[in-house]
């Protein structure tokens, strides 16, 4: 094992990143064939594939560090809901297009800022991962920002739906800025950035787009937590049932 170029990275921290990417990618892929227009259908499918690609890289590394001879498919398809470390926001059902876009915008803004920090990690894998992924996420941010502006500053109905989505999703945005146990360990070991100081920058970024979209940024109130520690909403189990069925029924099936 090559330990000279790597700092210690807790497997749980890699899973937190990987699971959030996989679950969000899986959610977005549900739009495939259902997008409001052909071009958006393809755009969201591209985004979904970006996330699933990111999760594949992270799972490979997690499996390697875990050292129990698992591969990335085992990680994705043979763990149960309580083993998943994704942020709760990723598992929320897609809702209407405005809801999906609002989540995508809030998440991309956060993830973009976070990857900028992660890029400076002394851990070669993490900095390389961030470097590669940040290009994808910058595009997701641009794409979703444009749609937030169009829909927020669109018709009375689209504005109303966006305001509703924003209010629904907001209580799930605090989880990013509340490090979980393994994340704190990664921060202590120096391999992961502290997310807490990013909150102000994130809020400013979000507010600048929302104001163009004629939407009001919500006040921070109660925030849902727990996803990063394996406590999930009821939605995740249904998602996994869908996603994992084939590998559960026919373990190791290939085609």
């Amino acid at each position: 094992m090559n330990t000279t170029t790597r700092t210690a990275v807790p497997v749980g921290f890699l899973l937190q990143l990987a699971d959030t990417s996989l679950i969000l990618g899986q959610r977005l892929s549900e739009w495939c064939g259902h997008g409001p227009i052909l071009e958006e259908d393809i755009a969201l499918t591209n985004t979904a594939l970006d996330y699933i690609g990111q999760s594949t890289n992270l799972y490979k590394q997690a499996a390697l560090l875990d050292g129990r001879g698992q591969d990335e498919d085992d990680m994705a398809f043979h763990r149960d809901a309580w083993d998943f470390r994704n942020c709760l926001i990723a598992e929320l059902p897609n809702g209407d297009y405005g809801f999906t876009i609002t989540r995508q915008f809030l998440y991309s803004a956060w993830y973009y800022l976070y990857l900028q920090q992660l890029r400076q990690s002394p851990d070669e894998f993490l900095s390389g991962f961030a470097e590669k992924s940040i290009k994808e996420v910058r595009y997701h941010l641009q794409h979703s920002s444009d749609w937030v502006k169009r829909l927020g500053d669109g018709t009375p109905e689209s504005h109303e739906r966006m305001a509703h989505a924003l209010a629904e999703i907001w209580p799930f945005t605090g989880e990013w800025f509340t490090p979980a146990e393994t994340e704190l360990e990664a921060i202590r070991l120096g391999s992961a950035p502290d997310p807490v100081p990013l909150r102000k920058e994130w809020r400013n970024l979000v507010e600048s787009v929302l104001s163009e979209a004629t939407l009001t940024i919500p006040e921070d109130g109660f925030m849902h937590l727990g996803g990063k520690e394996g406590r999930h909403t009821e939605y995740l189990g249904y998602m996994l049932a869908d996603m994992q069925f084939l590998q559960r029924a026919y373990p190791g099936a290939k085609w």
Binding site: I37, L38, E39, E40, I42, A43, N46, Y139, Q142, H143, D146, R150
Partner: protein
């Protein structure tokens, strides 16, 4: 719904530096910025391009199919206009 349909745009992609932009297809978008984003997602997913142009389809003036004979037939018997009588050295590449 035809009155609410977004305008049509023609998409041109440059596959690599030094080559010309080539027409690849069309798409619907409400403005130029959306057209570029849509073109990126629809036409460059498999690394087809390094640059995108979009042009409103309404801005294109096309030749009339009825004029096909007067426009193109006269060139039919002028083989000497083709540079087929030269050998182009392989190392020249794209001209």
């Amino acid at each position: 719904m035809s009155n609410t349909e977004w305008p049509l745009w023609e998409v041109f992609i440059r596959s690599k530096s030094g080559l010309a932009h080539k027409h690849v297809g069309s798409l619907h978008a409400s403005d130029a910025r959306m057209a570029i984003e849509n073109a990126r997602d629809v036409y460059t997913r498999r690394m087809e391009g390094v640059s995108i142009w979009v042009v409103p389809s309404s801005a294109i003036t096309a030749s009339s199919p009825d004029d096909k004979e007067i426009l193109f037939d006269p060139a039919n018997d002028k083989v000497y206009r083709h540079p087929t009588f030269y050998d182009i050295p392989g190392e020249i590449g794209h001209m």
